[in-house]
């Protein structure tokens, strides 16, 4: 990463411009309930959510013994920009499944299946964060009860041995390759009303974190708190 400013002139803690359109695809058999096309910088993904539908008999359903456990079966398919879905896509699918299972509200009808179909249109860094944000928006648009408003942010820690590590948000592909640590953090904000002032006191519940790259414990925690502030920022821009 070029010393001083970043490749595309953004500040360290500046997010890329991101746009999302709802109800875009709805095409095909019309059963799609929620669909989003999210672009963040040059990364673009389209996500469709179907369900909750009756799940097939062969589906292994977790015991419904305790009430507060969500017993919804989540399926997800991620198809890459081109070609076959490889190991990377399967890892993304697994993260989406864990994320959705962690975000749903227990009042969601049990013994049902929610299918998340994601198509990566173009990729330029912080792919998982975009996918999780798009999935969250699609779930909300499909009217599926969520336990709060999920927001995901990607953080990269630059190689800078002497000085304290430089964190930057929403890294693009070049920055991700050269950075020491890349992480995706997703938060669940839940509170009564979403007025301007309330966003500050909202409880940020970490739902999903996956980081790769060496850093000492302090940097990892530092990245965590920075990501939380960024998530609140995204929530405020989305709320108004």
């Amino acid at each position: 990463m070029v010393d001083g400013g970043r490749g595309d002139g953004r500040e360290d803690l500046e997010l890329r411009s991101s746009r999302y359109e709802l109800g875009v695809t709805g095409v095909g058999n019309g059963k799609v309930e929620g669909s989003v096309r999210l672009t963040s910088g040059r990364t673009e993904v389209a996500v469709e959510v179907k369900g909750p539908e009756a799940s097939l008999a062969s589906v292994v359903v977790k015991p419904t013994a305790n009430r507060d456990r969500v017993s919804v079966n989540v399926k997800s398919v991620v198809s890459p920009v081109s070609g076959q879905s490889g190991e990377r896509e399967q890892a993304l699918e697994e993260s989406i499944i864990k994320f959705v299972a962690g975000v749903l509200d227990p009042s969601c009808p049990p013994r049902t299946t929610i299918t998340v179909v994601a198509q990566i249109l173009s990729e330029d860094g912080s792919l998982l964060a975009c996918l999780l944000n798009a999935t969250a928006l699609a779930l909300m648009e499909a009217g599926i009860p969520l336990y709060g408003t999920p927001v995901s942010v990607a953080v990269a820690v630059a190689h800078s041995e002497p000085s304290p590590p430089r964190l930057c948000l929403d890294p693009d592909l070049a920055e991700e390759r050269t950075s020491q640590l890349v992480g995706t953090y997703s938060y669940l904000f839940s509170s009564v009303d979403s007025s301007e002032s309330a966003i500050e006191e909202m409880k940020a519940n970490i739902v999903h974190v996956s980081t790769l790259g060496n850093s000492n414990a302090q940097t990892a925690l530092h990245a965590l708190t920075v990501a939380e502030k960024a998530a609140r920022l995204v929530l405020r821009t989305r709320a108004c």
Binding site: V60, A65, N66, D68, R69, V70, E87, R88, Q90, A91, E93, E94, S95, I97, K98, A101, G102, V103, L104, D105, P106, Y147, G148, P150, G183, L188, S190, K203, A204, N205, I206, V207, H208, V209, S210, T211, L212, G213, N214, S215, N216, A217, A220, L221, L224, T225, E228
Partner: protein, 308 residues
């Protein structure tokens, strides 16, 4: 004894709570203590590098196969593939899902591959022809096919697989001359090629998982605790290979999955997790793996006894 088993099957949550109230766990460990890890080098006589790791009831055996491939113009480093097979667990394994769930195993194997690629100096896999100088592009490089098989699972599949893959790579010896690889494949009595070239490690990774159950942190959870946990944090610690005794281990990767509606996980809790699982348990594991690197591989045996 039978009634306890029936109570555990019918009311798992209450069963675990009864133990946690007294700060011990169903298998007698304290909340902070990790299970004893025993690493055994080169159990398979016919594989260039192999290792078996036992963590409590979780047993993973890994074998490394060598392959040669021609480097393209731009790529300069060797290649590493990892494959995880939980077939032997069968369909009846209590959380039958992992045995049947192809996706979960490939996700675990994908993460292990990522961490292995970061902790091994893939550049050292490139074969420099003895004669001509090492030209940047072209030439041959090693491809490592790491295959792990989980023989018995009692929680922390990722930790055991990573440890066993690292141990297998540590015991790996490259055959000295190229043609020896040819006859090695048809190894006459399956003897391992005696070579001196070992793999260069950048980091020695070891993972410790922490399960969150009603506000309590359980380090190195068993299968039963994992199924009841509302959040699981897997922290991969690493020490630089060249200074094993050195300073604090660094965090190589952090993976956290939590069920939002049942757990409230915040930065403070993650700090507690890092503190808790960075303790003696992990340093024992790192020591066990690091000792394999240093010592020569006549079937050495490293026992990381761990009882906090």
């Amino acid at each position: 004894m039978q009634e306890a088993e029936a109570f555990k099957r019918l009311y798992p949550e209450e069963y675990l709570d009864r133990f946690l109230v007294k700060d011990i766990r169903p298998d007698g460990r304290g909340l902070r203590s990790t299970r004893e890890i025993s690493v055994h080098a080169s159990p398979l006589s016919s594989a260039p590098g192999s290792a078996v790791v036992r963590m409590g009831n979780t047993t993973v055996i890994t074998s490394v196969e060598l392959g040669l491939f021609d480097l393209g113009e731009e790529s300069v480093a060797g290649r590493l593939e990892h494959e995880l097979d939980v077939g032997p667990l069968g369909t009846t394994h209590n959380n039958g899902s992992i045995a049947r769930n192809r996706q979960q195993t490939s996700a675990v194997s994908g993460r292990v591959r990522q961490i292995l690629c970061r902790s091994i100096d893939l550049g050292s896999l490139k074969l420099s022809e003895p004669g001509e100088e090492a030209s940047p592009g072209g030439g041959k490089a090693w491809a490592l096919h790491v295959k792990s098989v989980c023989l018995s699972l009692d929680g922390c599949l990722f930790d055991a697989t990573l440890a066993s893959a690292v141990a297998a790579l540590a015991t790996l010896r490259f055959p000295r001359r190229l043609e020896q690889l040819g006859e090695d494949a048809a190894g006459e009595d399956g003897g391992r090629p005696e070579g001196d070239g070992a793999l260069r490690f950048l980091w020695v990774p070891a993972c410790t998982a922490v399960a969150l159950h009603k506000g309590r942190l359980l380090v190195d959870p068993t299968d039963f605790e994992e199924s009841l946990a509302s959040a699981v944090v897997a922290v991969v610690w690493g020490r630089r290979a060249d200074s094993p005794g050195g300073e604090e281990p660094e965090v190589l990767a952090l993976e956290l999955g939590s069920e939002g509606q049942r757990a409230s996980v915040d930065a403070q809790l993650v700090r507690r997790c890092l503190g808790v699982c960075g303790g003696r348990g992990t340093s024992q594991r790192l020591a066990a793996l690091a000792s394999l690197l240093v010592e020569d591989i006549d079937g050495g045996e490293a026992d990381g006894m761990m009882e906090a």
